[in-house]
């Protein structure tokens, strides 16, 4: 039994306060009409279904329960998500799951630019394709893309792991293709299952950091000369 909250009748502030005050239960958010910051800051095990498309930062900093957007999502869907699940049945605009620290973000359609930017542990599964600069400076977590990836995938990536089934237009600085090991095949399988998507893990390729940008290169000619041939270098 879900409680209906109609954004044509109540304010965003009222909606979010109800969600912040609730300990449990289901909520249907009606008439979102592209509103921003819908269902952001949820801390308890709620099930929120949004009937239509949302604007920026839906389910921002999500911590528990599930938010499903039955429509498209604007920029910053589930930004900085900590745990729980956020899903959009349509497409997501730029910076989906940006800086996410945990939990699962599922995008049934395509995601725009910078999907998974600075991700810090979140798992992201995209049914369609992602735009350019996906997983820019991605630190930790997994990004699974069933479609294609745009230019400069994984630029300046740290320890996040990227799996793409389709074409990658180009890889960004320090991002390289890596071998699909058994544990990677298993991980993709688990993520697809969690996202309720069907694909063969063997069709995916893995990308990650070459770790060449982790440290500055510092020369030291003076020490080399002082120590002579056979010195520390």
């Amino acid at each position: 039994m879900s409680t209906a909250i109609d954004l044509a009748e109540v304010s965003l502030r009222q909606l979010n306060q109800v969600l912040h005050d609730a300990d449990s239960g289901g909520f249907d958010v009606l008439n979102p009409r592209g509103a921003h910051a819908v269902a952001c800051g949820i801390t308890t095990d709620l099930t929120v279904e949004v009937a239509g498309s949302v604007g920026y930062y839906c389910a921002g900093m999500h911590q528990a329960g599930t938010v499903v957007v039955n429509g498209n999502s604007g920029p910053g869907l589930a930004e900085n998500i900590m745990s729980g699940t956020v899903r959009t049945t349509g497409n997501a605009s730029m910076s989906a799951a940006a800086t996410g620290c945990g939990g699962l973000v599922v995008i049934d359609g395509d995601a725009g630019a910078r999907c998974g930017i600075s991700m810090k542990g979140v798992d992201i599964v995209v049914g369609g394709s992602i735009g350019h600069m996906g997983a820019f400076m991605a630190q930790a977590g997994n990004l699974v893309v069933l479609g294609d990836a745009g230019a400069d995938l994984g630029d300046s990536i740290y320890e996040a792991i990227l799996y793409v089934r389709g074409e990658v237009e180009s890889l960004g600085s320090d991002c390289v293709e890596k071998e699909m090991r058994p544990e990677n095949l298993a991980a993709v399988g688990h993520l697809l299952e969690a996202a309720d998507m069907t694909a063969s893990p063997a069709d995916f390729r893995r990308y990650g950091s070459e770790r060449r940008l982790y440290s500055f290169h510092v020369d030291d000619i003076d020490t080399e000369l002082a120590e002579g041939p056979g010195g520390t270098r």
């Binding site: 910051a37 921002g60 440290s215 020369d219 000619i221």
Partner: protein
């Protein structure tokens, strides 16, 4: 220089410091990274003087008559505005760049003085939350350590767009300081040379920022104020856009503002001085009818009550200190001169905050070095220093006949240089001339 070189002239263009830097660059192939702020000669608040009351103005008794120092930030918007007892706050400095003891000392000192301290690019630690009665939580491009639980236990949120030492640049923390605890808080590999993002990952302009601020307010149920921090570059436009985006306070950080680690070329050559930035920010606030409503927090090279009073007279509501607070804790202590010299520096010159070798135990993650700073004693020193800043500010305000430090005004000032007169928009001393004024 010994007498046998007196017949030679040191080159102004290629002085010894310049020669040393070229040699260093040729040896290493990497730009100079250091801490501290701009070190070169700049127009500063020293170029202004207070006129003081005399025949045409009426001073207040220095020791008897009240002179208020309190400021409230976020009134009317946030359920819990920030109440400051003094118009001086502690600027954002990260755990990581500073030791946990230093962060605790900053919290203790600020709390004793009735003011706020600020997190930094690395998340909130228990040490600083526990010892800060008013803690501002920075929301930075890197989002290192950002989480909604800490957001909800902050007393204010500061969206950092830039900082005075490097407007347009991101954070930097070298591998020596990325210990296991620091790495874990930032979700980074231990020991890497961390260069953090210079742009926010999920918004790109003032219209986006307005929506971001709404999201942050929604997450904390509109309880606390939201600041926007800017590196001083185009403060007139940037302040106006921050106000339009919905900020309760705008922090404008001039180029003298410090850093834990940044390219020297950035520190010395990007941004404008604090003196030049404050009047431009005030002009934007006045034109929007928001002056004194949206608070202006000025920062960058503030050292004394004179600096505080002058910044307030130019129209700021609050100032923020960083480098000065570290010095109050013991940074560049002459007692450690021999150790500074062993590191190729000297007390009074030490700027290598990036190295993690700080003999004073402040800008380091080394357990032995950081144990040198007693957070209780450090907190007392900072509280004393903040008290002196406040007393000096009150002294100057009373001399100008003001019963509250925020009643200081540009009319109380004169400039000693043509540059300062033009930047501050106050007359050159002894004249009625304000260079650039239209009439």
């Amino acid at each position: 220089m010994t007498s046998d070189t007196w017949h030679q002239r040191e080159s102004y263009s290629f002085d010894r410091n310049t020669i040393a830097e070229i040699r260093r660059a040729a040896n290493t192939g990497i730009y100079r990274i250091r801490g501290w702020g701009a070190k070169r000669v700049l127009p500063t608040l020293d170029d202004l003087v207070f006129l003081g009351a005399s025949m045409s103005r009426y001073p207040l008794e220095g020791y008897r008559e009240a002179c208020g120092t309190d400021v409230v930030i976020g009134e009317g918007r946030a359920e819990h505005p920030v109440h400051l007892d003094i118009p001086v706050t502690i600027a954002g400095m990260s755990f990581g760049s500073l030791s946990s003891q230093a962060k605790e000392a900053l919290g203790r000192g600020a709390s004793a003085a009735g003011t706020s301290t600020t997190t930094g690019d690395g998340g909130m630690t228990e040490e600083e939350r526990g010892h800060s009665t008013k803690l501002v939580y920075q929301y930075l491009p890197s989002r290192y350590g950002m989480n909604p639980d800490d957001l909800r236990r902050a007393d204010a949120i500061e969206v950092v767009v830039g900082q005075g030492a490097k407007p347009g640049g991101g954070g930097m923390l070298l591998g020596q300081k990325i210990t296991e605890r620091v790495a874990e808080m930032r979700t980074l590999p231990v020991g890497i040379d961390q260069r953090s993002a210079c742009r926010h990952p999920d918004w790109t302009g003032p219209d986006d920022l307005a929506i971001k601020i709404i999201e942050l307010r929604e997450i904390v149920d509109w309880r606390v104020p939201i600041y926007v921090k800017l590196g001083a570059a185009r403060p007139y436009y940037d302040t106006a856009l921050a106000v339009k985006a919905g900020a309760d306070a705008v922090v404008v950080d001039g180029m003298q503002g410090g850093t834990a680690a940044t390219q020297d070329v950035f520190i010395e050559h990007v941004g404008i001085p604090t003196l030049a930035a404050i009047p431009e920010a005030v002009r934007a606030l006045r034109e929007l009818g928001a002056h004194r409503e949206v608070k202006l927090i000025a920062a960058g090279g503030i050292r004394s009550g004179a600096d505080v009073a002058k910044a307030l007279a130019l129209g700021a509501d609050v100032v923020s200190i960083g480098t000065a607070a570290l010095i109050a804790l013991g940074d560049n202590d002459p007692a450690y001169d021999a150790e500074y010299r062993a590191l190729g520096s000297a007390a009074g010159f030490w700027e290598d905050y990036q190295d993690g070798t700080d003999p004073a135990g402040i800008t380091t993650q080394d357990p032995d070095l950081s144990a040198r700073l007693d957070p209780v004693i450090g907190g007392r020193r900072l509280a004393n220093y903040l008290q002196v800043l406040t007393l000096e500010t009150q002294t100057l305000a009373r001399a100008c006949g003001k019963s509250h430090v925020l009643n200081l005004e540009p009319e109380d000032l004169a400039a000693l240089t043509v540059e300062a007169a033009a930047m501050a928009g106050v007359p050159l001393a002894g004249t009625g001339w304000i260079p650039g004024a239209s009439s």
